[in-house]
């Protein structure tokens, strides 16, 4: 997440100072008004803590590790303005002294991780927590979700900053700075965070708030109030039964899906999500669902018991994803995430160049994500036959991906180990 020098044009990276420097000035003034002479020691010690927290390797589900930023946790405890200064100081020391992130890029990095992150995290936390009691479980969830949103928005900012470079600064057809446009930089940054660093940040923040509730609840009340000038609702712990939370989630998602379907279908529920549902052959869909259910009943427990303990959860989730993949066959026409480049072009009006080049790689062995055998992909094969073909293709795909990931992580680990022998660089 730390942008090194050379990726951003100096005009952009110094121009970010227009946003960061005044924010620092306002933050300093606001913190000093509350803390007066305590400002310097408190901020210095918390900056040091923030630096230390950024060094922690947190185990990610699946066996690798990632770094946490901890900006949301600090913002929850100290308030956003003090968090801005604490995290920014930690980032400046990292850049100037430990070579993480560029010197000219300090403004950009401080904007992404030191300003956007704590503010988004704090605002999301306050919105989600509402006026719930300080010790309630809702605050733990609010903290986790807020941290997830905050670091994702911060990654989005990084992607945008990198993505506008080739648009603004190109010479004779080659990009002078970061080579990717918005269409590549933003999805890459988002995907890398949504399924990795953001989850880590969310878990760490949620557990951190839970720990503070248990051991040091006073930090979630008075001190934050002192620093941020906020009023904190007092109250007793209350526990909502799990079925209520689950039920609310299910009802909420059904409502959301219905609204989304109505909007995309132009108000006609028969044309929800832009597909013509009257053409669906429901009896064959029922057969397919039955077949899929039987496969799931056999394969899920099998995966759970066969896989080694370390990757049990993730592995079973992937198997489940492969099993439900053919549900996309129900919808006539465009299946989400499975469209060929022609579908994508029809929907979005253009094809990202990278997707175009890559698609030829994958379409070769499994045309249309199905096995090239007449039983599975024949024009008049039954829906459930196609579904099984989809699933087998999906499993093979997951296996290939797994092997590739394993090889790549092995290579990176080896390269990293060799590099750390000589100079011990830290992963960015």
């Amino acid at each position: 997440m730390h942008i090194p020098d050379g990726y951003l044009s100096p005009i952009i990276s110094l121009g970010m100072g227009v946003a960061t420097v005044p924010t620092w000035a306002v933050a300093t003034r606001r913190v000093q008004r509350v803390l007066t002479t305590r400002t310097v020691p408190l901020l210095a010690v918390f900056a040091a803590m923030s630096f230390t927290v950024m060094m922690f390797n947190v185990p990610v589900p699946g066996g690798t590790t990632a770094h946490a930023v901890g900006g949301t946790l600090i913002a929850i405890v100290l308030g956003p303005w003090a968090a801005v200064i604490a995290v920014s100081v930690a980032l400046i020391i990292q850049a100037l002294f430990f070579g993480d992130g560029g010197v000219l890029a300090i403004f950009a990095n401080c904007l992404n991780m030191g300003i956007i992150l704590p503010f988004v995290g704090y605002v999301a936390y306050r919105l989600l927590a509402g006026r719930s009691p300080v010790l309630s479980t809702r605050r733990v969830w609010a903290a986790g979700i807020a941290a997830y949103v905050a670091i994702t928005v911060s990654a989005l900012a990084v992607g945008t900053e990198l993505g506008i470079q080739p648009m603004l600064f190109s010479e004779n057809g080659h990009a002078l700075y970061s080579p990717y446009g918005l269409a590549e930089a933003i999805p890459t940054m988002l995907a890398a965070h949504l399924f990795g660093a953001s989850i880590v940040e969310a878990l760490v923040t949620a557990f951190g708030v839970a720990y503070l509730q248990q051991r040091h609840p006073e930090y979630l009340t008075s001190l934050r109030g002192v620093v941020a000038g906020a009023d904190v609702p007092e109250g007793e712990t209350s526990r909502r039964p799990l079925w209520q939370t689950g039920g609310a989630l299910v009802v909420g998602s059904i409502i959301l899906l219905t609204i989304a379907g109505l909007v995309t279908g132009g108000g006609d529920i028969g044309k929800a999500f832009g597909a013509d549902w009257s053409q669906v052959d429901w009896p064959s869909v029922a057969t397919m669902l039955l077949v899929v259910a039987v496969i799931a009943l056999i394969l899920l427990p099998l995966a759970w018991f066969v896989l080694p303990r370390r990757m049990r959860g993730v592995g079973t989730a992937f198997v489940a994803a492969a099993i439900i993949a053919p549900l996309g066959l129900i919808a006539p026409g465009f299946a989400y995430g499975e469209g060929s480049t022609e579908d994508v072009q029809a929907a979005f009006g253009y094809i990202p160049q990278g997707l175009h080049d890559l698609s030829s790689v994958f379409s070769a062995p499994f045309a249309g994500y199905n096995l090239p055998l007449p039983f599975f992909s024949d024009a008049n094969a039954a829906l459930w036959q196609q579904a099984i073909g989809y699933e087998i293709a999906g499993f093979i795909g997951i296996l290939l991906l797994g092997v590739a990931m394993y090889a790549i992580t092995g290579l990176i680990r080896r390269a990293g180990g060799r590099a750390s022998d000589a100079a011990s660089p830290r992963p960015v």
Binding site: D5, V40, F46, F97, Y211, H216, P427
Partner: protein, 287 residues
């Protein structure tokens, strides 16, 4: 090779505890090493820190502005010469910069070579995959890596030749507020205390936990450690504040400044400005 070195790696599982511990020790080691070099008697070490900060900012700016590979290579030669004149061991300096870069830049840059549209250098068909690096893509990639290399080298060289205290004082020259500088200085001092604390916590866990624990437990422990550090931070900041007010701290910050810009400092600053101007102007001409 990695499997033999680390017993924890033998089952293909390098622990996050070891990772963190290695990171922490690496940082402390690096800081000690850096201070050592910053106090040796080379050319850059003798230059006034304010002049030095100006020089490095100007040259980094020039490296960022120039759009030519030739210029970047030339700037890198100048940086290397400065490093040699400042008695920074060249092999270490080169390694520290270039071993860290491929991890990030390589992952970003290599795909770009193939995706950037334009004339192709060659077209190697491997079944359905066409391995065809485009010429604009290659030029962009080399330029980016060269520029990142020069910028990182400059930042590393600045840090290697300037004690932290001097670097902070030089920030005053570019009008960074006193309060900010004091926070930076104190934060740097407490970082080592906290790194020490954290490494103690991780070592305690490493030496006591023998079973393989679940990911959830590990994350809960990490979060607990963070919460614990938070608690200690509050306590420590109170103690530090008490100590500061006992010694007469009233909120206003005064420093004494013994630096004087000598003729050699002005000459070095001027030289850096000249090199940068030449680099930027010539970079417009050379492709």
């Amino acid at each position: 090779m990695s499997a033999v070195r680390d017993p924890a790696a033998q089952d293909g599982h390098v622990g996050w505890v070891e990772h963190t511990l290695a990171g922490i020790t690496g940082s402390i080691e690096r800081a000690v090493f850096t201070e050592e070099h910053a106090r040796s008697r080379g050319w850059l070490q003798r230059v006034d820190p304010r002049a030095k900060l100006g020089m490095f900012l100007i040259v980094i700016l020039a490296a960022s502005l120039s759009g030519s590979i030739v210029i970047e290579v030339g700037l890198y030669a100048v940086v290397l010469a400065a490093a040699v004149a400042s008695r920074v061991p060249t092999d270490f300096f080169v390694k520290r910069v270039w071993l860290g870069i491929p991890l990030f830049a390589g992952i970003v840059v290599i795909p770009a070579i193939f995706f950037v549209p334009g004339e192709r250098l060659f077209d190697l068909a491997l079944g359905p995959v066409h391995l065809a690096p485009s010429i604009p893509g290659l030029i962009g990639a080399v330029l980016l890596v060269a520029r990142v290399g020069v910028s990182v080298s400059l930042a590393v060289l600045l840090v290697l030749t300037t004690p932290w205290a001097d670097l902070l004082k030089s920030l005053q020259a570019i009008r960074v507020p006193q309060l900010f500088i004091l926070v930076l200085a104190m934060a740097y001092r407490y970082i080592f205390l906290f790194l020490h604390l954290a490494s103690g916590m991780f070592e305690a866990r490493k030496s006591r936990v023998v079973a393989r624990t679940s990911g959830g437990e590990q994350r809960r422990w990490i979060s607990g450690t963070m919460g614990n550090l938070l608690n200690r931070s509050f306590k420590m900041s109170n103690d530090v504040y008490a100590a500061m007010s006992a010694r007469g701290f009233t909120g206003s910050i005064r420093t004494f400044n013994t630096y004087r810009m000598r003729r050699a400092d002005w000459a070095a600053l001027g030289g850096a400005a000249a090199v940068s101007t030449v680099a930027v102007v010539a970079g417009r001409g050379v492709a």
